[in-house]
Subunit: 533 residues, 2 copies
Amino acid sequence: MADRVYLFDTTLRDGAQTQGVDFGVADKVAIARALDAAGIDYVEGGWPGANPTDEQFFKAPPALARARLVAFGMTRRPGRSVENDPGLAAVLDGKSDAACLVGKSWDFQVHVALGIPLDENIQLIADSIRHAHARKGEAMYDAEHFFDGYKANPDYAMACLEAARDAGARWMVLCDTNGGTLPDEIEAIVRQVAGRIPGERLGIHCHNDTENAVANSLAAVRAGARQVQGTLNGLGERCGNANLISLIPSLVLKMGLETGIDRDGLKRLTGLSRLLDERLNRAPNRHAAYVGDAAFAHKGGLHVSAVEKDPRTYEHIDPALVGNRRHIIVSDQAGRSNVLARLRDAGIEIEPDDPKIATLVDTVKRREFDGYAYDGAEASFELLARRALGRVPEFFRLDGFRVIDERRWNARAELVTLSEATIKVTVDGERHMTVSEGNGPVNALDTALRKVLVPAFPVLEAMKLVDYKVRILTPEDATKAVTRVMIESDHPALERWATVGVSTNVIDASYNALHDAITFCLMRLAGAEAAVA
Amino acid sequence: MADRVYLFDTTLRDGAQTQGVDFGVADKVAIARALDAAGIDYVEGGWPGANPTDEQFFKAPPALARARLVAFGMTRRPGRSVENDPGLAAVLDGKSDAACLVGKSWDFQVHVALGIPLDENIQLIADSIRHAHARKGEAMYDAEHFFDGYKANPDYAMACLEAARDAGARWMVLCDTNGGTLPDEIEAIVRQVAGRIPGERLGIHCHNDTENAVANSLAAVRAGARQVQGTLNGLGERCGNANLISLIPSLVLKMGLETGIDRDGLKRLTGLSRLLDERLNRAPNRHAAYVGDAAFAHKGGLHVSAVEKDPRTYEHIDPALVGNRRHIIVSDQAGRSNVLARLRDAGIEIEPDDPKIATLVDTVKRREFDGYAYDGAEASFELLARRALGRVPEFFRLDGFRVIDERRWNARAELVTLSEATIKVTVDGERHMTVSEGNGPVNALDTALRKVLVPAFPVLEAMKLVDYKVRILTPEDATKAVTRVMIESDHPALERWATVGVSTNVIDASYNALHDAITFCLMRLAGAEAAVA
């Protein structure tokens, strides 16, 4: 079926080459499973033999329901037979459903990088693919530098592909390795190649060095290629690989092509993108196409009121199709209508003409000017709003704290740093004081605060801080800079919530965010009667 | 001349709509000047009358050498004459060389958003453009939602453009306002439009909602459009606008089109991209096409050795053409050859077979495992390397410090936080102790350390910390997380340098980075004779 496009994910192989990325086996297993659940056809798990992680992964790979697990490797070395090449053996020995072998297709590279005659390279490709096909049942040939090669010497580049095809490769994958080719060139070259090798056997592998990796992949599909390689969130060396998260909705929703992704799989895309960020401990890109938090965000009164009339006015697709949602932004450029929309989101009922709304709008503007950001801290926004409306009980009152960090030489002549926090709090009219140690000042303060509050509010026992972020708002002020702390918290009885604190003092900012986090938890779970009189 | 493409920057107008972006007048002036210096043809400075910043900017705009300054606004309101529309008057009253007026071109929008007959909208466009042309000499028509409009009702969309053209518009700009159109559709529609209005009068304005804004702009240029609108770094609402920084090198270096950018202008692109990040206090995107730190970064022994043989093997252009450079990455995936390349970069001479290199590679790997990152902290890498080779004097020795943060109610019943640091240091065999206050714990520590060191090393007086960044490496550990601090420092006699510190304790991590920053400064500027015996 000519309109079936096969999706090939290489997050765990080419994406793992990215600066700062270091997947463990558990990461690889979790990501492979999520790709499989979404309906990706091929999951390239790594390069067996290249490093201990990939070795271990391919010894006991996760069972995948629909996806085929692919092992990556290189064609045999010059001067070795396929039976006598330990690198190739390691690739094929791992447990996998298919092998993808990279080889040269640019005459210049054969001369410069391999230093062998052109014919010998063709032989490497043919031998290696034939061997992989026999061992694995499915072999693919990754034609490195194919587009540069085709422009330099089209006959030789084609001869490399045809050698792979004749040796039994299921797919010939055309790689724009240096990422420098523009979409019209990609389309023209793939069209020429597809005149000799059917598009149903051609794949495309693009890099983002001109910010065209997605467009290049779409151009190749328009020209007939039926396998698309890419990574989650465009992870990859240099400027990244083609971003599957952006490609998939365009292929399915806009070009009407059939893939392994059904409507349910499409809805998983936002979650799939976030999963990778979580595994990498990265903040999600708010501006990512389709799945970013800001992708369907509306700010400014005019847009917001038009979108509320009819979403087509400012939305190119329904965000729910890819598991995303519309965001109405609270911002200092925004006015009443946005704040009202946010109050509705938070489930706060108020008459639209209540004069307290103007006070709240002013407060939000002033705080955002100071560095507060409520976009990602809905719980702090809700507290601010409820406080402005006089509806938040004061569960506890901070009377003061002191945090000491001391770095000194211990008895074993090591320089160690200790943190200790003392905190004084009034709960229900009664003064409490406690002291605690921690592995850093904020941890010590957090521990002390919990120690003093849990006896009064046992529900806090199960509350956990799950994320802690620090942003320097005025980095040019160096150590005098204003700091914004965002905390995400979790509790078995609640959905995760986020709070924010701002100060020139990082401990202070952290306390402010902690205070909001605890108050929010108590507001949801403890009765108002527990509040300070 | 058909191959002359005009570049139109809307960073200061459409880019200013981005969530979290808030340009001041000084930012706008600095960015406009830099755009002009690079050779951008049109600089859209904002929307006079829409907000106080834009109002002020257009009262006294910077003098631009080559670029034309454009004021943005809307066509007249229904029911008002052009002479009697205060919004339009504000746009045209500001000091500018041209006006760009946005109007509807999608029948659906005319019905839903404006609620007026289709003919009346045509009249709004014609009147407004005629008036702007008469007042300014150059008028442009921004056809909002043009592609959605053309697909829904091509005759009406064309009628809107033709009304603008007949009223004297220099440019008819086709906007993909919702960003949902794919490159092949853009190319086909622009080609049809160019059959009736010459491409020399057509502009293109794309958004990145499918990650195709750059490709869409290139497709429009291939179809004949000769004005390209975009923003620096793709700044813009939702998923951003078309990224001029990526577009320009492709237009000039790859498509061979003439623009206002000469070879010197091209070399400014990396700096232009960084300037915007600086003004926004954002970390540059390492993976940005052409200008990112990682765009020409090579990691892993094979790539590095091939690139050193011939850069064409893994580089699609010479990075120097756009003001960027090649980076050899020190990383835990990398081995000797990368560390050797970095030592060369740092000007450290060592025999390639020196056994100390293996020790250094191990140390780098272990430290990177702990969370150190030397990619952006060349000074810390150099210190680490020189220490491994036994070549860094110990200018001072920390005997200990204590930092106290106290939050308490002051006499005026305000909750205030004070930070105080005590530090003990040995310099040249002599023990020094000092105490200092700060507006946060790190500032207090920094101040105390300087107080004790400046008398011994007067050269430190002129050393300034210019950037301070905190990253939480294990956010899921919440307040127990590991923290990485990066500090950038400056001194009149040196180029800026960056250092890194890691600890579970943010104060500790900051001290480590500070210690490296000061040591680096002393190593460069103070004699080794000043070191502790």
